[in-house]
């Protein structure tokens, strides 16, 4: 500690080279794969042009992992796989093995240790999650808890491939939405304009920056009790929360005004249809930690309707486009309200300017 007198200069290595860590078969056939199939849920089988084969076993994790869990995963990798591991875009772990015979014991072990094997193909993969109360400075709810609850609910759909196509769920603990777009997105939605703690503004808030951040110009500088502060035009405010990070005294979170909205039909892939943003399904669900039953209820309904009705390869949004939004609302028992009508920039282009109609 006291040696810190001559501090160490960082070695700016940048992005580490993955080849030293990569499974030898992947390294050998890098860029030369031929085709793949999925022998069973949770398992991918890739065949290289050279004829080499590799089997991948995918399992769910809690993402925020303690060293004990990580070491357990390493032990499994050393004993049942070839010692190489990767994580996927959705925080699932993948073990690669060079021999089909290794697949079954590996799966068995993972399951025995409580790691669900699945997340491939037309399954519900891991919910992409964010930081929440565990770490972030602006969260309206937790992330890890919501994800845990949702994955408990959807565990069966993770370990089998019975959905029409893959389902990507995301969750975000504030309206900023680090979790991103999803087939289903479970996001905090503020329902009230920020309350301003005027005593603090002068100290911690860079006022011109905050004024500039508001997307609807609802914030004005003002003198309150003789001190420079801010005021919000509540008629204009769209409750986006953008003012809160740069100015914590603009308290956007409230234990009962911070709500959850669920969005559907976001899609990143370019397969078939172009990528899309998710669309509002329902707002104003209570932020009911630690189980969020109202949220789970809605997610369950949406998943079930999709599972029952969509055609193979239709993603959530593509399914809804085909059957029509009215049928989506009917099937899920959700309400269509004036808040579903877009009012933001370019709203005009989201309107049905045609005679196309669903009954």
């Amino acid at each position: 500690m006291t040696e810190a007198a001559t501090p160490r200069m960082p070695d700016e290595v940048g992005v580490p080279d993955p080849f030293p860590y990569m499974h030898p078969i992947m390294k050998k056939n890098y860029g030369n794969w031929d085709w793949h199939d999925r022998p069973r849920p949770g398992v991918l089988h890739h065949v290289a042009k050279s004829g080499d084969e590799i089997w991948t076993v995918r399992a769910g994790t809690q993402r925020q992992m303690d060293v004990f869990t990580i070491r357990k995963l390493c032990d499994i990798g050393d004993e049942y796989a070839d010692g190489h591991i990767r994580f996927t875009t959705r925080s699932n772990i993948e073990y690669m093995v060079d021999d089909e015979a290794k697949v079954a014991p590996l799966i068995e072990k993972l399951q025995a240790e409580g790691f669900p094997v699945g997340g491939t193909g037309a399954s519900v993969s891991m919910v992409s999650h964010t930081q929440g109360w565990l770490h972030c400075d602006i969260p309206g709810t937790d992330a890890s808890g919501v994800v845990k609850g949702l994955m408990d609910l959807l565990h069966d759909e993770f370990v089998q491939e019975k959905m029409p196509n893959r389902v990507r769920i995301t969750t975000s603990c504030c309206q900023i939405n680090c979790g991103g777009q999803g087939d289903i997105a479970v996001n905090v939605q503020y329902t009230k304009p920020p309350k301003i703690n005027h005593d603090l503004v002068a100290n911690v808030c860079e006022r011109p920056a905050v004024v500039a951040r508001c997307p609807v110009a609802a914030i004005r500088p003002a003198m309150v009790n003789g001190k420079p502060s801010l005021e919000v035009d509540e008629k204009k405010c769209v409750c986006c929360g953008a003012c809160y990070p740069p100015c914590p005294p603009m308290q956007i979170n409230g234990d009962d005004s911070t709500k959850i909205a669920i969005w559907v039909g976001g899609k990143h892939s370019n397969a078939r249809s172009k990528p899309t943003f998710h669309k509002l399904a329902v707002a104003n669900l209570p932020n009911n930690a630690p189980h969020w039953p109202e949220v789970k209820d809605v997610v369950g309904k949406i998943i079930n309707a999709y599972k029952k009705d969509a055609k193979h390869w239709e993603r959530m949004g593509e399914w809804i486009e085909r059957i029509g939004w009215n049928r989506f609302f009917d099937m899920t028992g959700l309400a269509f309200t004036k808040h579903h009508l877009d009012t933001w920039t370019g709203a005009r282009k989201t309107m049905n300017m045609s005679a196309h109609i669903h009954f």
């Binding site: 809804i320 029509g324 049905n352 669903h358």
Partner: protein, 418 residues
């Protein structure tokens, strides 16, 4: 006779020449037609030469009305004095553009006497345009036309002449009585046409189905389009005949694969399966297989509001504001009439000057428009719900209750109707 070297070049070619027609009026018409047309041709040739127009507007109307005439005064009247006034009467045709030769001959007689002898069938908004007369002729021609049952159409900031497709009169795709809808609405709002006092123009157009043969969605503030709620009618024998004729691959490529919502599937035994709840009533498959497929029986209309050309905020198409309305009984037609009146009243009260209703909606937002007209929001109004989270939703549950009430009401109504 003015030389018309530029125009003369437009007399060749296989298409009927307007120049030849104008010249015939100049050479063989009544005295007054001849005079007017000689100078008109002279001015037009002058425009071709200078590549500029030489008319300016003004104010002309017939007694009792404020609109319906498009006045034109020449800026080069000194050179072409006989056509120095060249006003147009916009006259409403019978709904669906039906005529017999007798009435057309009467038009000719009237316009030969009181105007230039030049008539257009029809202007883009649907008017018969009696083109070219002076202020006095305007009144006389109108009186004569009015005597035989014709009335002026719209111009200026007013209700405009409407259009309806041939529909019920000859088309098997037609889902409602276009003539009745057209006449009911326009005739109830005539005052708005004849005495212009709206913020800007307001147009109705009526198409019997989604083929939209009168271009209503782009070109009408209020578009009425026929549709149906139940299933497309399939005649499987005719399906087979069609496939026999055109081949399986061709049929898949032109029908199955062209359905916008993948609602059509061809069974291996050459029968057709349509998933009707996925069908968006686009008309395509029905258009291709006119004998095998037809619209269902539970027919009615959709209404789109706000179509127009680009001034000032850019082109708009009508937004689906009333997804479905039955249009069979007298009460149905009264309801439609009342709705049309309400929309026009809303427009009169809320639009800024020179603002079309589509622009008003764009300015205040669709929710505010719906609220003003007491229309319940419906998913068919949008391509998809909002993607932006910038919205205050603390009254979401109250709004949701409205939906649930409506659903209960609809269900109740359906039960009691059974």
């Amino acid at each position: 006779v003015h030389p018309t070297p530029h125009l003369d070049q437009l007399e060749d070619g296989p298409w009927p020449s307007f120049v030849t027609g104008l010249k015939r009026l100049r050479d063989e018409g009544t005295d007054s037609n001849r005079r007017i047309m000689n100078d008109l041709l002279g001015q037009l040739n002058h425009s071709y030469e200078k590549r500029l127009g030489f008319w300016k507007g003004g104010t002309v109307s017939v007694f009792g009305y404020g609109g319906g005439i498009i006045p034109r005064f020449s800026e080069v009247a000194s050179q072409f004095p006989e056509s120095k006034e060249f006003h147009t009467l916009r006259v409403m045709p019978p709904a669906g553009y039906h005529y017999d030769t007798e009435i057309l001959r009467k038009f000719c007689d009237i316009w030969e006497e009181h105007g230039s002898g030049l008539i257009a069938f029809h202007g883009q908004s649907g008017d018969i345009m009696f083109q070219g007369t002076d202020t006095e002729g305007t009144q006389k021609a109108f009186d004569a036309l009015n005597e035989i049952g014709f009335d002026l159409g719209g111009a200026g900031p007013a209700l405009r002449t409407a259009m309806s497709c041939v529909g019920h009169a000859r088309c098997e795709q037609s889902c409602y009585d276009e003539v009745r809808a057209h006449r009911t609405i326009i005739n109830s709002l005539l005052d708005e046409m004849h005495r212009p006092s709206l913020p800007y123009k307001f147009k109705f157009k009526f198409s019997g189905c989604a083929n939209d043969c009168v271009n209503a969605i782009h070109r009408a503030d209020f578009a009425v389009i026929g549709t149906w709620r139940d299933e497309i009618k399939i005649n499987q024998d005719e399906v087979k005949k069609h496939i026999d004729k055109v081949g399986r691959k061709y049929m898949i490529d032109t029908v199955v694969n062209m359905c916008p919502t993948r609602a059509i599937s061809l069974n291996d035994d050459d029968t057709l399966e349509i998933d009707n709840p996925s069908c968006v009533r686009c008309m395509h498959c029905i258009n291709v297989m006119t004998k095998a497929l037809s619209p269902g029986d539970d027919r009615g209309i959709s209404i789109m509001i706000g179509g127009k050309r680009s001034l000032k905020i850019g082109d708009l198409m009508g937004i689906m504001v009333v997804p479905f309305m039955k249009l069979e009984t007298d009460e149905d037609f009264e309801k439609l009439e009342e709705f049309a009146e309400n929309v026009v009243e809303f427009f009169a009260d809320n639009a800024l000057e020179h603002e079309r209703v589509g622009e008003t909606i764009d300015r205040i937002g669709l929710p505010a428009f719906l609220e003003a007209l007491e229309i319940e929001p419906d998913p068919n109004m949008v391509n998809h719900p909002r993607t932006s989270c910038y919205v205050r939703t603390d009254d979401f549950d109250d709004e949701a209750d409205k939906w649930f009430e409506r659903k209960a009401r609809d269900a109740g109504l359906q039960i009691s109707a059974e």
